[in-house]
Subunit: 417 residues, 2 copies
């Protein structure tokens, strides 16, 4: 058995970012930039007014001064002339400050009488002006390659005059559920069987992380069925299987994949839930569609997750989501942890890192939030996973903790609610 | 001017949840349940083995006992007979525990010799069995109406045998940018003009919140252009405009909407950035496509956001995102705030609630994270918004704070990075 960090490092090491594609700005949300975005213009493009008011020369503007209004310049309609001594031009938020003027006085700070204004406050040079280039200058890098694009990034890319962005192609993640006992929802359930819950759960995690999931038909517990399902898969950057990850007589995933040239790296991690987790790679040539990236040297990396849905979920956030991030060219590694206080005593841990499903409550004033593990931690209980707010991470051989001591938690909402 | 909480309450009050539609489980991620999901079966459907091992009668199982193997039952292939005294059945994770047996012993805790096993550890009644219904019972509510569906919810709905889910129709949010000075990225920019950055930024926020954004063509600064753009909009649950939200001579949004029967509720909020923000409603009959929900009595609610992109973003997370959530039937209100320590002194606040763009750094061991406001808080600076991790929320008339004192922050990552 290897440790969680070692397993993650070995899973991530061979992964290479996918290629680049161009998307329209309206489709760029949650995509990862493949190239820097540099400003195609300077913003603001000229000195502009930050408020509704009047442009004038600050030297003309002691309190009580009277100025003659020589024009009006709404945003998008710059004043063509020059502001001379004793003159003012009516401006609005976003209006270009006309030549000659060097300040704006607010409309509420003047008394207007026909074609003239009297200043109730002295003007201040530069006042209420957004100087040209205040936000960014043409040629400046406004967004860096490797950034995952949110709403404000899309606004900034637009402001920098980009209608198109170069982003990473979403990694294709094929998902194969295995087991004679599973059926899709609504389909006939075999005797003693259960409904398949992993495939679409994992597909949602992959999509949220920025990948493109492809759910393969369930494969029964034979080497032939598993090899056939994988061989018929589309071109993929990563293959995920669920179930059959041990090496019992009926854990046939490794044997099935071996028919396609599978090379095992490891299959046991010192963790709970989810000890049996396969990591390895398939020879690209053996796959129907051929490999398109993912691993080095044309190999398709494989993650074989346990069949228990809670184990599959925990392994997915520890290993699959970072793998998708790495394929997107993001810095990827351990999921974000935050500190909390234990809401109840926690037992000493054995040699396997534990991930306790827990509720999170706000702490006292100024204090950390409080994480309390559920009594029932059976890895078959999806209902407990759904009720949980976080996972309390317990290192191998961690000492027992009293209530109130500090713990590290993984907030589950980081993975899309 | 009204306060931020009062403004939000008045915006949310008339909003009604959208109707229900059915989506396949594979499309249900980030949708909001319109109906409870009740389990269509009991999970596990029978007592099943939690591990690979052997089923037997606990009374037969003192340490050293020898039992005769009478069968094997892989998951999905239950043993048809009954386990009698002195007998054991080979099981695997997920196998149904056969009749007669009341415990499972682990395969590593026995010595197998052909058709018999010798127990190295005493058996324990109920050991390594997941009892029938441990996760949920048929008829139990496993997910409640009003829950936003994440990956694990999809897994649980699948496990409960639902291939289809009843969810809220995504509210249609029409987005209209106004201003003579704005152009879409890549299009010719008028003299003194700038690139429109709000529409697609807001569209991304709306989509992340679960709405369906429709970006209307930009409208110039005339009442006619604004009325025409809105009148040609599709059926919508909410209209969002940007720009022209004050009442200067060139702030024509209210006047343009008035041509379509607009009723103003308020247009000034005691906040910064973003004081001028219109809230009101359009008569549904006046709209081209007709209203389809959103407001009470067939009215289409309207939010008129400021044109400055930073102001528009802040107003959107304070008012637009909660509005979309309310239209989805979610409990909605103020955005989540968390506590942090001020990384630098903060000035006393005036009568307007402030929302300072700030960086967030981890705190010292056991301490809160540290939020430090940027020097430059000009609402024209989208680059600063993009660099920010959070907004420090400052209440009206809040006293000055020294570095290290507690502040409330809104994490911007809550809105999709």
């Amino acid at each position: 058995m290897i440790t969680v960090p070692e397993a993650r490092a070995r899973i991530l090491a061979p992964l290479r970012p996918t290629g680049t594609e161009i998307v329209g700005l309206a489709q760029a949300w949650n995509r990862v930039l493949a190239q820097d975005v540099t400003a195609r213009l300077t913003q603001p493009p000229a000195d502009v007014s930050a408020m509704d008011g009047y442009a004038l020369r600050a030297t003309d503007g002691p309190q009580g001064a009277v100025l003659h209004i020589v024009g009006e310049a709404p945003a998008g309609h710059p004043f063509a002339g020059t502001v001379a001594a004793g003159q003012a031009v009516r401006l609005f938020t976003g209006s270009v400050v006309p030549q000659g003027a060097d300040c704006v006085v607010l409309q509420e700070d003047v008394v207007r009488d026909g074609g003239a204004i009297t200043l109730r406050e002295a003007a201040r040079a530069g006042g209420h002006i957004r100087p040209r280039g205040q936000d960014f200058a043409q040629g400046a890098r406004v967004l860096a390659a490797g950034r995952r694009l949110g709403a404000r990034d899309i606004g900034l890319a637009a402001a920098a005059n980009h209608a198109w962005l170069a982003v990473r192609r979403p990694p294709v993640v094929a998902i194969l559920s295995t087991g004679d006992e599973i059926a899709l929802p609504g389909e006939p359930v075999p005797a003693g069987g259960i409904i398949s819950s992993n495939a679409h759960m994992l597909a949602a995690l992959v999509r949220n992380a920025g990948g493109e999931p492809v759910v393969l038909p369930n494969a029964g517990d034979t080497q032939e069925a598993i090899a056939a399902a994988v061989a018929s898969a589309p071109r993929m950057d990563l293959l995920v299987t669920t179930g059959g990850a041990s090496v019992g007589e009926h854990d046939v995933v490794q044997a099935g994949l071996a028919r396609l040239g599978f090379t095992l790296d490891f299959w046991k991690i010192a963790m709970r839930p989810g000890k049996p987790m396969i990591s390895g790679a398939l020879g690209g040539a053996a796959i129907g569609g051929g490999a398109i990236g993912g691993g080095a040297a044309g190999l398709v990396p494989v993650l074989g997750l346990p069949g228990n849905p809670v184990s599959a979920f925990v392994c997915a956030i520890l290993f699959l989501v970072p793998a998708v991030e790495r394929l997107l060219g993001l810095p990827s590694g351990a999921p974000r942890t935050v500190r909390a206080r234990a809401g109840a005593a926690v037992r000493a841990n054995d040699h396997r890192a534990d991930h306790l499903r827990a509720r999170l409550m706000p702490g006292e004033d100024g204090g950390l939030p409080v994480a309390t593990a559920f009594e029932r931690q059976d890895s078959g209980m999806l209902s407990v996973l759904v009720a949980a707010d976080c996972l309390i991470v317990r290192a191998p051989h961690a000492a027992a903790l009293a209530a109130g001591e500090m713990v590290e938690i993984i907030p589950i909402s980081d993975f899309g609610f």
